[in-house]
């Protein structure tokens, strides 16, 4: 007998469909950028990846505070799922960013605040995931990870400012004047961000449910 689909599955399916529909906007509706040409289309993938990765890390931060205050195991699994999703999305954002940088600025890597912040977050949350795999009592590990989850996010604005002082070449995406995007491009990028958002929520809930089930199986194994 087939199980009824839950919210996570529905969101993932609708998210995939929405992302697929966005491809029409990206390749047909949005005009090509004069200087960069076709490669500029990377931007419509890169921006949602980066924004939702940062949102994932914000979820880890808020969830970690909540865990420290309430010690709810479900929240810890939400943090774990958000960290995994964040590392995956920020990794992809870095790859797309590097491809963009090569075409746009002529270098594979540059000390841009946003790229640097994404890389540092990727390092910090990869370390966080390694920490989650440590062999230590469950509740203790959850508490240690919650502390690291808070500390890692506190660093974000400092990393951003320090990289900005160091040097910056990133384009102004939603600049009010002097540059920014054409209206069609703006609409396309907003649609891509929303579509990725739908997919992101579904992925997050699906992974959290997997981790909850894993905990239940572990508990049953320990009881047997």
């Amino acid at each position: 007998m087939l199980k009824k689909p839950d919210l996570a599955h529905i969101l993932v399916v609708f998210g995939c469909l929405a992302v697929a529909c966005c491809q029409w906007l990206v390749y047909v509706y949005a005009p090509s950028e004069v200087r960069m040409g076709f490669v500029q289309k990377i931007f419509y993938i890169h921006l949602p990846l980066a924004w939702w990765a940062l949102t994932s890390f914000l979820v880890v931060f808020l969830g970690s505070i909540f865990y420290i205050l309430k010690r709810a195991p479900g929240v810890d699994n939400l943090c774990a799922a958000a960290a995994e999703t964040g590392v995956l999305l920020s990794g992809l954002a870095l790859v797309t960013g590097i491809l963009w940088a090569r075409k746009s600025w002529g270098v594979w890597w540059t000390w841009d605040p946003r790229l640097t912040t994404t890389l540092v977050m990727w390092f910090a949350y990869s370390g966080y995931l390694v920490l989650r795999g440590l062999d230590m009592p469950g509740r203790r590990r959850n508490l240690v990870c919650a502390v690291v989850g808070i500390v890692a996010f506190l660093d974000v604005p400092l990393v951003f400012v320090s990289a900005r002082i160091w040097r910056s070449v990133h384009p102004a995406v939603f600049a009010a004047k002097d540059g920014g995007l054409e209206p069609e491009m703006k609409l396309t990028v907003i649609a891509c961000v929303l579509a990725f958002g739908l997919f992101w929520v579904g992925l997050l809930l699906l992974r959290k449910r997997q981790l909850d089930l894993r905990d239940r199986v572990e508990a049953l194994k320990n009881m047997a």
């Binding site: 910090a124 502390v147 690291v148 500390v151 890692a152 660093d155 320090s162 990289a163 160091w166």
Partner: protein, 224 residues
């Protein structure tokens, strides 16, 4: 609380310095880094001021990881951590005491590293020294606040390598500040001067001193 904080710091300094190998391991690692990086210079060449400042802070950071691993390992023998937890003071006294001890040991190591940088990397202190001294103290404060917080992971099954993975990305803003002002002390001319970096280092210290005070109690416990 201050009296007991100083007692913890004094105990750690005595145990570290009075023993045969005390700071030797951390110093040797720093020396080795200077020596290995000096091999990158061709005959008659000198490392650039920025390169020298980077090597100085890299050596200091590795040294700092070893120092805090060592400081927290002191109580892991014979389960002596319980003794510290029974201290008639808030648990933050342990964090602050170890921060002070680590700060003193790091300054001692850096007092050795500075002449080593001058000799091995062919530098001279031709820039402004007061901002360099200020940034040294501010960066060391931030390093020790965060090092003392995450050093507590040492007793939770984590090793030095893991501490480095979690710690290094978080230290990026401080290291950039130290490198930038350090290179100015070694003679690099900067139109912006050290002002912004000093402010950034102050902000970092404020954030992580507060985080250490609030979060240390959750990391350093005897409930496993």
């Amino acid at each position: 609380m201050l009296r007991l904080t100083l007692a913890v710091a004094r105990k750690d300094l005595l145990l570290t310095l009075a023993r045969g190998n005390g700071l030797v391991q951390a110093l040797l690692l720093g020396f080795l880094l200077f020596f290995v990086f000096s091999l990158s210079q061709g005959i008659g060449e000198h490392t650039s001021p920025q390169g020298a400042a980077t090597i100085f802070w890299l050596s200091s950071t590795f040294c700092h990881v070893l120092i805090f691993s060592q400081l927290y390992a002191l109580e892991e023998v014979n389960n002596a951590r319980l003794g510290l937890l029974l201290l008639p003071a808030p648990i933050q006294a342990v964090w602050l005491g170890k921060s002070i001890a680590g700060f003193s040991l790091l300054l001692m190591a850096q007092a050795v590293f500075l002449p080593v940088a001058i000799v091995f990397l062919g530098q001279n202190l031709s820039g402004a020294l007061l901002p360099a001294l200020l940034i040294l103290l501010l960066v060391d404060t931030g390093l020790c606040a965060l090092g003392s917080l995450l050093g507590a992971l040492q007793g939770q099954g984590a090793r030095e390598s893991l501490m480095s993975i979690v710690l290094f990305p978080l230290l990026v803003p401080l290291l950039l500040a130290g490198i930038s002002v350090g290179s100015q002390a070694f003679g690099t001319l900067s139109p912006d001067g050290p002002g912004m970096w000093l402010k950034l280092a102050c902000a970092f210290d404020a954030v992580f001193l507060a985080a250490g005070l609030l979060l240390f109690g959750f990391l350093y416990a005897g409930d496993e």
